[in-house]
Symmetry: C2
Subunit: 141 residues, 2 copies
Amino acid sequence: MRNKKTSPLSGVTVLERLRDAGLRPTRQRLALAKILFARGHRHVSAEQLFNEAKSSRVDVSLATVYNALHDFTGKGLLREISIDSSSSYFDTNTGNHHHFYFERSGHLEDIPSEHVNISALPEAPGGAEITRVDVIIRVKA
Amino acid sequence: MRNKKTSPLSGVTVLERLRDAGLRPTRQRLALAKILFARGHRHVSAEQLFNEAKSSRVDVSLATVYNALHDFTGKGLLREISIDSSSSYFDTNTGNHHHFYFERSGHLEDIPSEHVNISALPEAPGGAEITRVDVIIRVKA
DNA sequence: AAGCAGTTTAGAATAGTTCTAATAATAGAT
DNA sequence: ATCTATTATTAGAACTATTCTAAACTGCTT
């Protein structure tokens, strides 16, 4: 086996990120995490990630892609979004923000939370704790 | 032929509602519409509606339930909501409002639009038209 | 009453996701 | 380094929600 962990920047950082999250940095998880976190924030479906992995000659099964996405989500590295019941998206931006949803293309775009101002939020019934507030602006495009 | 149009939203009114929407008031659509619109607003899944129909000895196929839900949605009698990628809900309240989503039970509850105040909505990219703005408040219950 | 477009239906098909249980890899102790 | 217990990966089967198919039926107009 070549390629120990001599990769420039991405390799090591991604590895630390997995370790810090308490996830074993396996070959597959590292490869997927690199694809996910290498560049800026993105929204991916399981199928998309699976295909990208294949294209970059990373050999992972679809089940592993699902496992990784859920593991990452469970540890707060990703956030799951279901806008359209046909499939889920995973957002690498786990901070507080909202979304434009382009109905025609099914594409998502982040809206920084400062750009949306919500006032007068109602109390949750029975004093239940609010997990989060999602604002989805659907646009016809 | 009792029960002609004694209650505001039963029998005849439902029939008129379908006709006005340009939908043929078939036996099945009438029965489903009665279940949906008889009482106050509600959120139903296809499976739920199918079961309620069975319980009230209305003989409809699951395919017809799906057809009806989509036809009603297409004509503005219902509004589709996908919060959880596992299944869709149809809301008999088609007016402007938002939702509490109870994560544990998967239950939905309406929030009148007056109870949420959104200011500073961003422009849609490329001047695209905004179809609607959904606010989902997820609560841990 | 007759014809036809619009509906319904059972069951097959599909899409996305999860499960199974066998195999392999990792972390930590030796 | 090696051993071991634990955790991860995998192919393929299974599952769930939904859509499709194509044949039978119904409500509407004439």
